[in-house]
Symmetry: D2
Subunit: 462 residues, 4 copies
């Protein structure tokens, strides 16, 4: 995953951009990059690390009215400045910077084709093909953009800039979120509304699927480059990725999570004394579960405030497990209790196993694990960084096997139907408009290249 922001501002543009990126830090911790207009050119700066590290060194004195920024997710691959966005095209004529959230499913064949015509790629990112498509097209920026989006397939929320315009584009399926806000005379586009809130901007609307929005001193121009397609928004944003205080795809994220928790309580009730979240991922689902089940909500695990950066490699001895550094069970609350432990998802299962063990060691009589999403069985091709199939515990194990592996007394996953029905509560149509391929394996846009899946882990930009 990544977070993207663009601001067309009157003053303090860089300051506001950095604040907004800071609000999106949960979408990526590997690196941050920003680009801005200065003297008719587009300059940029990139760093590995968190926004807070970056901002101290940087950018206080730049005065500009257009800027874009990108937060990159920490992946298992090699961290490298060259793979931090924005990517900038500083041609003698055409100048553009691109920030991308998503994943192109046909970038490999596009790159091959472009290289055979002499294009020089300088990164491993799928995003770079968009830059080359723009450079190799003819005409004004709008013609070039349309040429580029007519070639690429897959998931792309884009925030771009030229020296005079801020541009926002969302793919025809709307896989990834992108919203538009306004503050005073300035505009902001960002992955989530929490990036608007932090600078006091008002949420106007989402960028629509298949829409190009261009913001300049002449105002806002919108154009649909593709229409009437069924949206396929990523339900995992609501389950896990987005911040609970954001409104994404028209839904308050924390309310969606509470609703998942309520449905989960109906689908998989438990005979227990307390409901405790895995902090902070299971918090709102646990509150919903508690409300529906009437089992009291309590914090059985406390999370260290200072986690975010692990500082010390775990010792060789097993005694001080890494999870202990992040979470501490509260014995006075846990001891002798039957605990419903609520989390949002299980990927590999190793962390959940450790948490169950922590609770049992702290004296929990029973641990009933409840997961507020369906079993995660299939890789995402649209921007969620997923491990290989063999590492996804649910793709190769039955529910019963998972329960035994984790050592809990019972386990319950939210069903796909329950999940979509929960969302129907907010808007009756909504349940149709979500991509649930990671649970069902039914991909709205199948990967085109044979090489794509194979290369996904090497060339991903998620």
């Amino acid at each position: 995953m990544c977070g993207i922001v663009g601001i067309f501002g009157q003053d303090e543009t860089i300051y506001n951009l950095l604040l907004s990126l800071y609000a999106l830090q949960h979408r990526g911790q590997e690196g941050i990059g920003i680009a801005w207009e200065e003297g008719g050119k587009i300059l940029s700066e990139k760093k590995l690390g968190l926004v807070s590290d970056f901002a101290r060194k940087f950018a206080r004195n730049i005065s500009t009215s257009i800027a874009v920024g990108h937060i990159r997710y920490s992946t298992t691959g090699k961290s490298d400045l060259v793979n931090i966005q924005p990517i900038v095209l500083n041609g003698l004529d055409t100048k553009v910077a691109i920030c991308h959230n998503g994943n192109l499913v046909n970038f490999f064949s596009l790159r091959k084709n472009l290289e055979s015509n002499g294009s020089v790629f300088t990164t491993d990112m799928d995003t770079e093909v968009i830059l080359h498509l723009i450079a190799s097209a003819k005409g004004d920026i709008m013609s070039r953009l349309k040429f580029a989006v007519s070639r690429i397939k897959g998931a792309y929320s884009l925030v771009m800039m030229t020296p005079t315009e801020l541009i926002a584009i969302r793919d025809p399926f709307g896989f990834r979120p992108l919203c538009l806000g306004k503050f005073k005379e300035s505009y902001i586009v960002a992955s989530e509304t929490c990036a608007l809130d932090i600078i006091g901007a008002e949420f106007i609307r989402e960028i629509e699927a298949g829409e190009i929005v261009r913001i300049s001193k002449d105002g806002i121009i919108s154009e649909k480059f593709k229409d009437s397609q069924e949206k396929k928004q990523c339900v995992f944003e609501l389950v896990y990725f987005a911040r609970p205080d954001s409104n994404v795809f028209g839904v308050d994220v924390c309310q969606a999570r509470k609703e998942f928790g309520r449905t989960l309580a109906r689908e998989h009730p438990a005979d227990a004394d307390i409901v405790s979240p895995v902090p902070d991922s299971g918090l709102f689902a646990a509150m919903g579960f508690s409300e529906e089940s009437k089992i009291p909500f309590s914090y059985g695990l406390v999370r260290s405030h200072y986690v975010g950066r692990t500082f010390i490699e775990p010792s060789s001895s097993e005694r001080s497990s890494e999870i202990r550094i992040k979470l501490n069970p509260v014995k006075g609350i846990i001891k002798g209790k039957r605990v419903v432990l609520v989390d949002d998802s299980i990927v590999r299962g190793s962390t959940s196993k450790k948490i169950v063990k922590l609770l049992k060691e702290a004296g929990a009589k029973e641990v009933h694990l409840r997961i507020s999403s369906p079993p995660f069985k299939f890789p995402c091709y649209y921007g969620i960084d997923t491990p290989s199939l063999s590492e996804l515990i649910a793709s190769s194990h039955s529910i019963e096997e998972i329960k035994n592996f984790l050592g809990c007394d019972s386990i319950g996953y939210l069903s796909v139907e329950g999940m979509l029905k929960s969302l129907g509560k907010f808007n009756s149509d909504m349940s149709k408009y979500f991509c649930v391929a990671c649970f069902t394996g039914k991909y709205p846009v199948p990967p085109e290249d044979a090489e794509f899946i194979e290369q996904l882990r090497l060339f991903r930009n998620v």
Copy 2:
């Protein structure tokens, strides 16, 4: 405030010490220092910053069996390495390192007297008088320690070491917590039990008020240097300072806070739709308030995971207030609601005022502020870093004036009686054994020196 730890260990002593200090990071973010035995001498290292910064650079390869460490609170005064503990006496004969949590009320006259006899002080810390008293005494280490504690007055939980012993001392009133734990053949003393949990140590007991505990390879020796005095434990540890998953003064901190919340709900009920904590300080009190009042608990404010270090100075414009960087109101939960907002205390009132404003702007119909401790009116002389009287809003304003200043619709503080009665639930005698001077102005150990109060801000070690 500060956090202190000492370990007498078999292996990985420094690793365990750093983990324990990490668990106590909430007790101070300004600096960290550690000392350890090496080749019969006591070596030490000190840094400004967080444990996590420190540990990466340091200490992986030191092999020792005795080590002590200290976490220093960020005060308004000048940050300086020289004021980071431990303080080390590396005399040709006597060698000792001292970590101190608390504040000595007669250190000024002690220092004056020592200096007139030729003692050279190298720090501003009250703790240093203990070192000089030990150095100027005669006899073995026990005689020297007894001489020192017979002279000093005030609050002191001490973790000390010689090249062969780990020593723990708690003042006769037991103002500050200090507990003893065991893991395998090793021992740990620490400010709070969460420092024991993180390394998998078992909590044995608290160090008693007026007790000296010495741990060496010959085992544990305990001696009371003063007895039969009424304990005066700092209630503010339970209200605010200690981690919720710690057990302090015999009470589970999170349970104490819940109980404060329940009593508060009875003392100051509110007609409202939701109870929301100020995260994370008001969390458990808000849960208690909700349980007692039956008003649903909900998270109306979300806290950024990445706060801990502010990274960017607030802009000149008022729009993006600093509080916005840390907390974001969840409009979907707040809008149109009557909110009970629960926090643990009010010091200056400026932060509370901003939070109330945030909620109102997010659409809250009413904001009823409930504080799970009494009005904070008097400075602490025993180790809590308090601002000057004129800055403590409750010392110069009536409850009504505070309400008007904060802009909330109603306000309610827990009463001193209610607070002590809540603690009585855990142990009927307990309500007698707490220092509540910051609420009442009745000081168990009055400051002896005329200069003390005046100098408190310059020479404090809190």
Copy 3:
């Protein structure tokens, strides 16, 4: 200026590369970049700063047999990682890294043309056109290289690599030096022989003007891509740029400088007591001047060992001028003496003026300035970073005016004829084969683009 190195090695390739770059540090202090083969790809790393800063963090553990590196000169423009070489083309098929010393006089029109065909430039460097020419050509690497060198004009010593070959190219005029060395079974190409000496490599020969040398595990292949042209080697390398212990263009640099000093003494004798160099730039010319004139050589100025990095901005007061931090006159040697002060060149004149003043203040009776090169009047288009015409003091002032500006008692520049005749001493033909355009304005390869001269300062890679 820049320094370039490439190694095709058996072991410790990166270690030797860094040592060689360190020996070339005088050719550029702004930044350093290296590239190497790893797993069939070309990886690279770049840093702003000195080699010594870089090496500590880096590269100890990389095992590779081909690597190239580049040292970048500090220019007045914006320092930026993106403008640090090597430039790397990591195409799916074609992979190459390029290090360039020199300046292309037609890069602007080449870039324009390439961009109009869709090429995406990511740097401001003229070197990048070479990369795009290679990418857009067809056939094997040799065909692509020949296509590229058939298009570019100007000065270029190139060290390049593919995953299997080390490649060295020198332009048909041989403006910049490039030499070939061997150690054990390994080969090295580098700007100067001092980079060979430091790793114990034996100097084999210079890369010839118009030659492409390819080194692989199959041995060395050489091909002339252009022949029978008159060489135009940069005489300023001998005057100023190269290290005195290097052999460049077939001449020992320190010997050439001594010879310049001898000729200078004949052309501009002085009635004086001592000859003193401006350390270290005038050292060998001063020794030659002393030998020829029989006036005793003495160090009238001492240079701080620790200069290299200025550490403190000069104060507002004039008292402590910046030059004072670098040079200190030795009063005991200077006082009451008539001094011949020898330096290699005068650019703006401001430093020379300060040094003359230092000597006078230290008691020198007379200061006779002698410069071991002709007046520097015209900008260099082939890789020496020169200020604008208006800043070159000799381009707008007569010798008499310069003398008055500097405040010296007499001044004498080496003549162009004297300079070339001095070089004739080493090889009778040699005097024909040098570019002296910066003294005469007669450019061997005139800039082709109207924009070139204008853009020189923006897009230079010198």
Copy 4:
């Protein structure tokens, strides 16, 4: 060795102090510390590293009129901030900061005695006893200073400050240099005159042996605390330690070195083609040798400008020896020549051996090593950091053995008599006033403590 500076200034006191310390950087590279008056207290800051590293982070904005600073030599022992000076006594009444160059020969017994009376030592430095003696004395600062100097024995040039005075003290033998300068209305005391030159201060006189100089806003007060003793100034300052552009003990250092070189040429003539210095240590002696012998002076070895910090550990292979990184022989000058190689001293002999080898490999026909000081046979007790006896090659080997070890064709050391006679040239009396114990073993002040010699390496402050 160390360098010390104190300034009593009107403006830019810290800026001037840092410049002066920078000029003394050759006297120590391990660390730097400064102290200054601020609000009636003495504040200080210390860093490991060079002045240039330090100054960038620090001290631009401090406004004060009294400041002292210290440069610490890199010793083989553990680098530790705690052993960086100044040492500061910030008593409630008495406040003083001390910078010390030298070594006390009775500090061990003084420390023992002070500790038994309760004094707390916080460093390993002998200098700290001075602080405790001052603290334990009675009366005004002058009485305290006199008490302290009446107790200590050995070598001490001291620069001290109180909140109102700058104080300079030199021991009765005057082992270490210390000079007084004036600029505008301000005063400076420093180890060498180069520290005066860099800030444009005028050299007034040396602080005399046995003198206390106090500078305040009331002017300068001088008092001799011990008189009529024979001075024993360290001749090694002139041979090696001081900067060539300094005037030390009334002699221009570079002139003294030239004179040593001339005498050496008479004592140990050589039949050779060129005289080459080991740069830069042998420079002036080589020039003197050349003048006297009429053998031409030439630079056979070139030193890298960028050395100062070694950046890369030498590889395992012998090929690239560490010396190669620092020095490069100039083949064109060396080849086929009989070389007189001049250096100032030989300590262990390992570096000289490598240099001889370098010259031979570069083609030198013969290498005649000439050393401008006598064989270094005995440890210094007065502040020069010397290795143990067993490491001093001259203490255990005959001249012939040394010649064979180094691999040179002949070797010649300056005689003690020749050295002193050379100095007699500047002032006929002068030859009596030097300590030459490191050559003769005759110590002017024998170490008093049995422990001293043993402890020298542990507790030294040189």
